[in-house]
């Protein structure tokens, strides 16, 4: 046992090496045991899943037929020429380009403004948070009702003498309608993120700005924004990743219509995978989406990290 500390010792017998291994295993096996349930689940449902997904994206694959021929890049080529896929990517890009900056700016303003009022701060925070914790199925249903031709939204518009459109049944307003609802539902969540970020900014910065005679606007741009950098990056990146995968709102409110104006990529993936059972083709589309998400996340992180803000 005394020679164990020197691994290069040639005279060390096989038995003692085994004993050493056994001793180490005896100390460490609870570690492996404790992580094994989580490890098994994560391995199967994340790692095996993603490799499997890549594999079937190169095959013609459905659940029913046993023949699953290899097709190479056929599925990907088909996706690039699929009109439905193109429309869905265009809609999704528009959706992401509108809601990500909107939610970031509005929730940031809400956090900054909410921080300035003295009374009712906690109450506002609670109220803005309600849409965030309600299941998206419920909020989507509520908004279907609000968007009816003579529903709440149009009644409100009528008060200021605007004739509202038939929101969810007009191809030009259906996607904006979904975006408005999503923005409405998400600002409360990101407001909390920004409030936490604001609480981390030391008060001395603001005091110093006041002494220097800096105005509200100036203070906001020169102190608040640069010091909220981490929260801003987090909000922007997580929002982008989530927005690219939008599904439930479109599924419930419009089912992709009218005239495919609200088809999102995830809707199309669902359509091919679970309505037409073309799992291989649908997986290829989901990999194209993954590629886009990866590209934009990496781009954002690179831009944010390289720019020296303070």
């Amino acid at each position: 046992m005394t020679t164990l500390a020197q691994p290069s010792q040639p005279l060390q017998s096989r038995a003692s090496r085994q004993r050493e291994l056994w001793r180490r295993l005896k100390k460490t096996w609870p570690g492996y045991l404790f992580i094994s349930p989580a490890g098994l689940l994560i391995t199967v449902f994340s790692y095996v899943a993603i490799i499997f997904s890549l594999y079937i994206s190169f095959h013609q694959y459905d659940i029913i037929s046993e023949a699953r021929p290899f097709e190479g890049l056929e599925n990907y080529a088909r996706a690039l020429n699929d009109k439905l896929v193109r429309i869905s990517f265009r809609n999704t890009f528009v959706y992401v380009a509108v809601i990500v900056p909107s939610i970031t700016v509005i929730s940031l303003l809400l956090a900054v403004l909410g921080n300035q009022v003295r009374r009712g701060r906690a109450l506002f925070r609670t109220i803005f948070f309600i849409p965030t914790i309600t299941p998206i199925v419920v909020t989507s249903m509520l908004w279907v009702w609000l968007y009816e031709p003579t529903g709440g939204i149009n009644r409100l518009l009528q008060m200021i003498n605007i004739e509202g459109p038939n929101w969810l049944f007009d191809p030009s307003t259906a996607l904006p309608a979904i975006m408005i609802m999503t923005i409405w539902g998400a600002v409360g969540y990101y407001m909390i993120i920004f409030l936490a970020g604001l609480a981390e900014i030391p008060e001395v910065f603001y005091e110093a700005a006041k002494v220097d005679g800096a105005g509200r606007w100036h203070t906001f741009w020169k102190i608040t924004i640069p010091l909220l950098r981490n929260s801003l990056i987090f909000a922007f990146v997580t929002l982008t990743i989530a927005a690219f995968q939008v599904f439930t709102q479109a599924f419930i409110m419009t089912q992709g219509g009218p005239m495919n104006s609200t088809q999102t990529v995830q809707m199309v993936v669902y359509h091919y995978a679970f309505q037409r059972f073309q799992m291989g083709y649908a997986s290829a589309i989901s990999w194209l989406l993954f590629g886009v998400i990866f590209f934009f996340s990496a781009l954002q992180l690179k831009l944010f990290m390289s720019r020296e803000l303070y």
Binding site: G31, I42, F45, Y189, G197
Partner: protein, 295 residues
């Protein structure tokens, strides 16, 4: 006014300036309040209507859909939703799914988190990174293979199929590990000397100490599972196993939407969440704040 006065009136000038400043500050505050109140109303009213409409009779709903007070209030919509709308069945399923995922995931996550925080074994850091890396995977890519794996295991349209993929969560492991790392080691060493094994130390010492983190994570797991829609929609084909979220969406599926039933159903789904939010608001907000700061 102050402008017409020359040098001796500088005191007046100064006072005017102060008044002007106070006035702009006050009007700023008023604008901010007006904005916040308007937004708050927009966030509350849909839910108020949902609640009010769920207590309206059919005729009352069709004549005054936007009144906030049901005349007269009735429980008939709830009765319809629970019986004809099968809300009772869906609700029971949702409770079952949420409870199972809550209990099992808390156990599995905390066990793994404790191990990653305190037990030393070769490859620990690498394995932990492998767990964290899965947080980056978009659910969009894993959805189809997860379904096919569940299908291969014979789990489609089963209770186990709904809950199994939710039994472990990388976010939970990360959150709890952070917490375990901050617990002083002396407490464990004392337990170890008293003869507790690995599991005993985890179960009797670490878990009780990690209560705040467990509650935070538990609230998130529950909210997630309660709201989950896409996965049960895909894996289940029998309405008897649907959770409420899928059940409500079914009301939409038919051409004619049964709005009163939708409102009653939505109120039923939202009720446990409202209660949870009232009880655990600090935990929820604390948890979200934490995720933002860490990111």
């Amino acid at each position: 006014m102050a402008r017409t006065l020359s040098s001796p009136g500088s005191g007046v000038k100064e006072r005017d300036k102060k008044l002007l400043l106070a006035a702009t500050r006050r009007s700023f505050t008023i604008i901010v309040y007006a904005l916040l109140i308007a937004l708050a109303f927009s966030m509350i009213f849909p839910y108020l209507w949902m609640l009010a409409n769920s207590f309206k009779s059919r005729t009352d709903f069709f004549t005054n859909p936007y009144s906030v007070i049901p005349m007269p209030p009735t429980l008939s919509t709830y009765y319809d939703a629970l019986t004809i709308g099968r809300m009772g069945v869906y609700l029971g399923n949702s409770i079952l799914y949420a409870a199972a995922v809550l209990v099992v995931q808390l156990f599995i996550d905390s066990l793994a988190a404790y191990s990653f925080a305190r037990v030393e074994f070769p490859g620990r850091e690498t394995l932990f990174l492998a767990v964290l890396a899965t947080l980056m995977l978009p659910g969009s890519v894993t959805l189809i293979p997860t379904f096919l794996i569940a299908h291969g295991l014979g789990l489609t349209n089963t209770f186990t199929g709904v809950v199994l993929p939710g039994f472990a969560g990388a976010f939970g492991i990360f959150l709890l590990r952070q917490f375990f790392l901050n617990i002083p080691r002396e407490l464990e060493d004392a337990a170890r000397i008293d003869g507790s094994g690995f599991f005993g130390t985890y179960w009797r010492i670490m878990l009780p100490l990690a209560k705040p983190a467990m509650v935070t994570l538990g609230v998130f797991i529950f909210l997630n599972e309660w709201s989950s829609f896409v996965w049960p929609l895909i894996i289940l084909s029998d309405w008897k196993k649907y959770p409420v979220t899928v059940g409500i969406a079914l009301f939409r599926d038919v051409n004619q939407i049964n709005w009163p039933a939708v409102f009653a159903g939505s109120t039923i789904v939202s009720f446990p969440i409202v209660i949870l939010f009232i009880i655990a608001q600090e935990y929820i907000i604390g948890g979200i704040s934490l995720s933002g700061l860490k990111g």
